[in-house]
Amino acid sequence: MQAATAHEGLIVCVARLLAGLHHVAVGASSPIPAAGAMLVRAQDEIAGREPLRISILGSEEHNFFTNGGVELFDCAAQGRIDAFFLGGGQIDGQGNINLVGSGEYPRTDVRWPGSFGSSFMYFVVPRVILFREEHSPRVFVERVDFVSAPGTSAANVERRGGPHALLTGMALFSFDKARARFRLESVHPGFTAKDVGAATGFEYDAPASVPQTAESDAGTLTLLRGRVRRELAESYPQFASTLPEWREAA
């Protein structure tokens, strides 16, 4: 079997981060998180577990909300969303994220869309997965220029959510809330811990010997390239077409 592509590796990483959860919400233009969620759902069904519920925002077919755009936030505030994905033009070593712009606000050098719901979701969703494929010092900075949402909060600030992991095209980090610091967990195939160090603008912890991100097993890849790829194609046809396909023998 063909080894996992880089995107497939990320999808499998996402799936590992979502295993065992009940409900995840993903953005309309987030095919890799969506694919990871669909992989978990398929695995749950095969294992006879209650399958992961997936809400795809902005989608007509996969949006099960009926109370308008605010329902995502209400639902999260009620504790009914276990995981959510956030990105950012900048992410710093304390887990702060910047979706607004680089340079001195408001006259930003580069302007990004804006904070969307991040300033809220980061506080209320228990397992926020920071996902940014580009792994460069321009993204992973020592200190963001604008805090759309802070990585941690003072003890008296009500907060049950926050960064759980940071997944990039190069590596997977966990986040220690007490120390407000990332820890390098594994490096994806084709990269070294040294590559990660050079591409990261903030300090982080790392084990003496950084493991490689676990390879996807054949069963997982078969599921991904068959059923999940077909499900994914309904919402993300262009992205799905870039993934390897596996067909059952006729």
Partner: protein, 270 residues
């Protein structure tokens, strides 16, 4: 109800109005936006509920927006919103940075007739740091529990596009309930629709839940494909190629001007 022309509809928006518009997938009144550009209604305080795309970019690019209050502006798959980005860099508009649920909460406060709404999160963000109009108070029901409160937001005008209205002025909004929230909160609600139904949209108890009652609707104009090039739920998808063409042309002021000349002409023809 007052069925009117597109031109008369946008004439109800005075210069300097606080104008609330919905996000791309809810039903954006793009034909009305073209009519507004043609009319040149300027000095607007544009409130995106809770984000916007091409509509905000056009109004900003045409110099009609004095203040922009939004959680984000993006053209989605077509990339960043070029005139918004340029205006942010130049600081040629006053930007009021927000986060989606805070905009919903501020409108909800107006809907409820209360001066503010509490909202969790946000503390420690620069969104909060730049909002002189938001406060952090101590939750009166607990000790040492800071919480953000946002003041009620009552737009002068809410403007959106929907599939249909009936001749009594009721408007089908489906499950885009942010459109109802906007209308409840706004002083005046202007709606463009694809068509007018002769029978009351409230007649069928099954789908009455997806109807905004006439009580909240000030004026309605017919605008066929009135969300184009954006999509309208249940009716037509977004015209991705056209949005991409806009994204390309709007990278320069000249390209934007050329695009707009044709866009506004289209509205005149409609």
């Amino acid at each position: 109800m007052a069925l009117t022309s597109l031109d008369d509809l946008v004439a109800a928006i005075p210069p300097g109005a606080m104008l609330a518009v919905p996000t791309d997938y809810s039903g954006v009144a793009m034909a009305a936006t073209a009519a507004l550009v043609r009319r040149g209604t300027d000095n607007l305080h544009l409130i995106c509920v809770p984000a916007s795309g091409m509509q905000a970019d056009i109004l900003v690019g045409d110099g009609l927006v004095a203040t922009l209050e939004t959680s984000a502006v993006t053209l989605g798959e077509a990339g960043g919103a070029p005139r918004f980005q340029a205006a942010a860099r130049d600081a040629s508009i006053r930007l009021i940075e927000a986060t989606c649920p805070a905009i919903h909460a501020a409108l909800l406060a107006a809907q409820k007739g209360v001066p503010f709404m509490p909202i969790r999160g946000i503390i420690g963000s620069d969104v909060l740091a730049h909002r002189a109009d938001w406060k952090v108070i101590d939750n009166p029901f607990a000790a040492d529990d800071p919480i953000v409160i946002v003041p009620a937001l009552s737009p002068d005008i809410a403007l959106f596009h929907a599939p249909e209205a009936d001749r009594f002025g009721n408007v089908r909004i489906g499950r885009r309930r942010e459109l109802a929230t906007m209308a409840y909160a706004a002083k005046t609600t202007l709606v463009t629709v694809e068509r007018i139904s002769d029978t009351s949209l409230l007649a069928d108890e099954r789908d009455a839940a997806g109807v905004l009652p006439a009580l909240y609707v000030s004026q309605i104009a017919i605008a066929r494909r009135g969300a184009w090039p954006l999509g309208l739920w249940g009716e037509y998808p977004a015209d991705g190629a056209e949005i991409a063409r806009y994204a390309q042309m709007a990278r320069t002021p000249e390209g934007f001007r050329a695009y707009m000349d044709a866009f506004v002409q289209r509205a005149r023809a409609a």
